[in-house]
Symmetry: C2
Subunit: 394 residues, 2 copies
């Protein structure tokens, strides 16, 4: 008789990925995925990079390579993290992963025994919750407000909870809430972390996509005790289809990630790595990111304006300074899952918010993505969702 | 204070991957890696496939996609498994993975709790041992001879061992031994498996690379109770740099692999998948595999002939009908690790055999790869190793 591991009792498919299948039909206006806008992908640039790579180093690109990743690409990541995130590091502290999702999975495996505690913002990224679940931890949610994690709550939890093995946070344009931590919260957070000496997973997939106001320093750039593990990715600034992300951490921690990577898949795609490196040599990524920010910024404006116009006053939502998402809170008596079904009948989709809370509840919330739909569809989609919400008002 | 998960106590870097770094210098004759011959990679063909893919479906190739993988590629895998391995299946039973290494990692996570037992051939693939270790199992080695696993030993172990959760085997041109199971062994194996109903991981990275004699049926093709999980890969028949493999299994098992894949990295590279699919549409992979087999067959002949000529009569080695490896047994008083150091001074490398036994011992063995070196270097390398062996004879 086939018997599975205990962890399999906890794992079910991601609701988002199941929903994405439903919303793949072209006539659906989908705010459900976290998809970048494909019309902005630098297809011509990547074609040129692919040709150059295969002509100049085809055999190396198609061969096995080191687990750590392609050194010139790691050097470019080092340079970029210095420029964008204020992080001082070198290539010996970079491990290339298959998207930052793989960094999340590895973090769970490196730090968590069954029953260990992981802290995360409430709400937090569903993909991280799912990745960590495979290590069978207990999740403790730290309350948040529009300025990020509530530091007095964090401190209270750390002072009263055993076996906290790591803290997972997305300080910039958080998924799902779109919120960004203030500088004051970041400083307080590092103070608390230094006191309790708990490893921090700082997930930063959206940090470069800021539409307004000043960049905030990354936690990693404020880290004096080597406690922060920074996860970056090319998925949102270039394209997700190459599956390239990275982990930046101090020696001992990065070595553990490397060991897990060896067993997990030996290495990330050599072709993806060398082609991406070639693209970065042939193009100005900053220029490309500027284009993305312009388009996403307009889409955010369009979505927020349409919500303002059509959503009933009983709803509230967040104001994201960047990134891909805003977060809607319905009246408490509403169930965003039930409304999602009604919305699907009107050919419009979002992700119900309950899945973003590892311990459940909060069924009156949902996540809205604005990066993947053109403005006219955004307005039309918001109208349709507004109709559904209004029809459910008591 | 940073505390790692218990599993990290078991994980150290793969000796092979560390050794590969040492042997990367161009003046070393290396029989250490499991590398395909890069001069055979279809670089021009993949360049044409990359251009076509990015011109015709660049946006889709660079976007997120489903966890299961690109349907046309899965259909080609289904067709190929039918033609080459006698397996009847459909695309709903295929999950694309990042190399078959990822399938090994997932197998451990799907089936193994700490302390559970996994059976494997003695010796077995080091990368599988490392992947499974992350799930903290007990390894029980099943003795083998030149015809494969010893079935009476397997039956004895199954009858007397609790908590056997899976059996890992490489029936064709095994890594590291180069051995292939006879038809009789395969039939007896399936009989025993059906009786005990234990899931089987059939790892088949080399099966298509047969230089002589008839193909053997895969275990999966003889599986009447849906117990066999078949792992395949493009790494040895096309190129490893794209990191594409697959898992073929029945519904419930494949669903568990899919759940793990969602958390592990969402999906394998869309670009890699679509470009590989395009390559397969534009080219005859069988013709390409025929070329690989011809070259590797000659290299095997060259290596075996040189061993015959130069190795002292105190050594024995296996005769592989295909694949990438032969396996050498030294006199019992010799330590292949010590000899490896002496060999490295003579600029020649192999992998000491001890690492391929999860429970240790067998230090008088080593693995030789013949796919990655031209014939003149094979002969020269064998001469040098022979000198070292002879200098250590008592």
């Amino acid at each position: 008789m086939i018997r599975f591991a205990d962890r399999m009792n906890l794992l079910t498919g991601s609701e988002i990925r199941e929903l994405l299948k439903l919303t793949a039909q072209p006539d659906i206006i989908s705010f459900a995925g976290g998809l970048p806008a494909p019309e902005l992908f630098p297809v011509e640039g990547m074609k040129a990079a692919a040709i150059k790579t295969l002509e100049e180093s085809g055999e190396a690109a198609m061969q096995y390579s080191t687990t750590e990743g392609f050194p010139p690409l790691r050097q470019k990541i080092v340079d970029r993290m210095k420029a964008k995130n204020g992080i001082q590091t070198d290539i010996d502290h970079i491990l290339i992963t298959s998207g930052s999702q793989q960094g999340l999975d590895f973090a769970g495996r490196v730090f968590l025994n069954p029953g260990d505690v992981v802290l995360m913002e409430s709400p937090s990224y569903l993909g991280a919750i799912n990745a960590f679940k495979a290590s069978e931890p207990k999740f403790v949610e730290v309350p948040t407000d529009n300025n990020g994690m509530l530091m007095e709550e964090l401190e209270k939890i750390l002072a009263t909870t055993d076996n906290v093995k790591m803290i997972y946070v997305i300080p910039d344009f958080q998924n799902p809430s779109g919120r960004t931590w203030t500088l004051e919260r970041r400083e307080k957070f590092m103070e608390i972390i230094n006191k309790f000496e708990i490893p921090v997973i700082e997930d930063n997939p959206y940090g470069e996509l800021r539409f307004e106001n000043e960049n905030m320093p990354s936690l990693k750039s404020m880290d004096t005790k080597d406690l922060v593990i920074f996860l970056g990715t090319f998925s949102k600034i270039l394209a997700p289809g190459y599956r390239l992300g990275w982990v930046c951490a101090e020696d001992e921690i990065l070595e553990k990630f490397n060991f897990i990577k060896q067993g997990a898949d030996l290495q990330s795609s050599t072709v993806s790595q060398i082609e991406t490196n070639t693209f970065l040599e042939m193009n100005d990524l900053d220029q490309h990111v500027a284009k993305i920010k312009e388009v996403y910024g307009k889409r955010r404006n369009c979505m927020l304006k349409a919500m303002e116009e059509y959503f009933p006053k009983e709803c509230t939502w967040t104001y994201p300074d960047g990134g891909l998402f805003t977060w809607v809170i319905l009246p408490e008596y509403m169930d965003a899952k039930e409304l999602a079904t009604q919305c699907l009948e009107k050919k419009v989709a979002y992700v119900p918010g309950g899945s973003f809370f590892p311990n459940g509840g909060h069924e009156n919330t949902f996540r809205m993505n604005y990066s993947n739909m053109p403005e006219e569809k955004i307005e039309e989609g918001i109208k349709r969702i507004a109709e559904v919400i209004k029809a459910n008002l008591r």
